[in-house]
Symmetry: C2
Subunit: 132 residues, 2 copies
Amino acid sequence: MNNKEKLRKAGLRPTKQRMIIADILLDGIDRHFTAENLQNEINSSGNSMSIATIYNCLKKFRNCGLIKQVESSKDTAIFDTNINQHHHFLDEETGELIDIENDEVNLHKLPKIPQGYLNNGVEVLIKIKKQI
Amino acid sequence: MNNKEKLRKAGLRPTKQRMIIADILLDGIDRHFTAENLQNEINSSGNSMSIATIYNCLKKFRNCGLIKQVESSKDTAIFDTNINQHHHFLDEETGELIDIENDEVNLHKLPKIPQGYLNNGVEVLIKIKKQI
DNA sequence: TTTTTACTTTAAAATCGTTCTAAACTACTT
DNA sequence: AAGTAGTTTAGAACGATTTTAAAGTAAAAA
């Protein structure tokens, strides 16, 4: 399926700007990035785009499940093109994130989901620090 | 051990402001809160404090291990008085966090920590959403 | 096709959480 | 009691993100 079709399937109009972003992000390569990272990539690709549009797109893409946002208490939002359930190592010093595939973690026992709620995804974060 | 001793033991001078905060936070009750929540509690207790001091204190308390900061991609930093390793349910709609005790989760298999790094804590986040 | 409608993009301003600044203050040491 | 190192403060500054409102564009209707 090409990117235009992916956008339509997600219920998003394939505008020029969304196509530029889709062409960068939806190439099947797993990566972590910020809005600013993406703007730099857009610029390097010979295009340009308002930062407001970049934020709009990232929010829409995230809400449609085309990308994910990583849970992390950094000051800048980090997005992830790997939309499968998976986990992360986090170096809190540098903010570096490293993917952990889902089958690398085995959750043997999970608590009961609170009454009235549904499980909407499990994320394991392993905080790591550089050995001295 | 009283709060004055706790602060000294953590290497922090027990100033008037830190004692006010310690008296609110270090009462053994587990709670999640933001800087703004804490300022409201300080105000309700008949005291007042600059927001800069509140942030300073929270950062110091966190760095000394008196409190923890929760990993979450919300726009506001969330702190936790429960400093034991534990986990959370997160309702992404409302931002509500619910504690999960460490023994409620059983991680049967963990990936190898990357070369040159040490494990610095594991956090499991179970995202939940309201049933419709 | 043309027209209409709803959605999208944009630059710039606004907002919000957090940090910085530098002066006044306070706890601890001598 | 005096010195010094750390702390608090109001307010300014900052950086990420969102809002605004006007101009532009895609899809639907005529």
